[in-house]
């Protein structure tokens, strides 16, 4: 299995985490993006993610491999949901195992940042006032979207 995947069904975390267990690993860091009930001050009902799957998987895979090279972690993987997601649903999961916690945290943070800025996935938010919007941020800042 590859280190990055697009999932059309709810993400099952346990087997993803289990893949990263390693006798040389002393540290594991994970990040989860959940669907929040608000964004930029607007109450959100739920959302839909859409991906250009072939390119998303290729670019996601590149990100994870670049991260492992850059920070020297032992292993990492990332899965991103597509489809309709209710509030509270898991949208993206990143897990990293490393000998030490510096590499685990840095790799995990770098992967989610790069996934948010480079992988062709789009969020369509439904607001409680009945309107909805595709989110096309000009640039992704750490605090302006999702998590």
């Amino acid at each position: 299995m590859n280190r990055f995947g697009i999932a059309a069904e709810p993400i099952d975390i346990a087997p993803l985490r289990a893949r990263l267990l390693h006798e040389r690993a002393g540290a594991f860091a994970a990040f989860e993006g959940w669907v929040r009930n608000h964004n930029d001050g607007r109450p959100v009902d739920g959302l839909r993610y859409e991906a250009y799957v072939a390119l998303a998987e290729a670019e996601g895979e590149r990100i994870v491999l670049e991260a492992l090279e850059k920070f020297g972690a032992l292993d990492a993987c990332c899965v991103h949901r597509v489809g309709d997601l209710p509030i509270g649903e898991l949208a993206v999961w990143v897990g990293v195992s490393a000998a030490h916690r510096d590499a685990a945290f840095d790799t995990c943070r770098w992967i989610i940042d790069e996934v948010k800025s480079r992988v062709p996935i789009w969020k369509h938010e439904r607001y409680t006032d009945g309107r909805s919007d595709w989110l096309h941020p000009r640039q992704t800042h750490p605090t302006d979207s999702g998590g």
Binding site: L55, A91, V115
Partner: protein, 80 residues
Amino acid sequence: MARVTLLYFASLRDAAGAASETLESAAPDLAALYEETRLRHGFVLPLAHLRVAVDGAFAAWTDAVRDGTEVAFIPPVSGG
């Protein structure tokens, strides 16, 4: 003339009213191809906000439009 399939995602798909279309274009490069497509469908996103991919790999706007390829215009992404 090159025969190409265009892929639309997110707001571009909504504006185009289709996820893809196949057409003949005389555009010399991918930038010109986007501009003619933008005018035809009334896309509001300027080229500077997009990326472009050919046959599933990121490409440069200055690349020629090659016959038989699949071209995707990538609006700003919002995963995560």
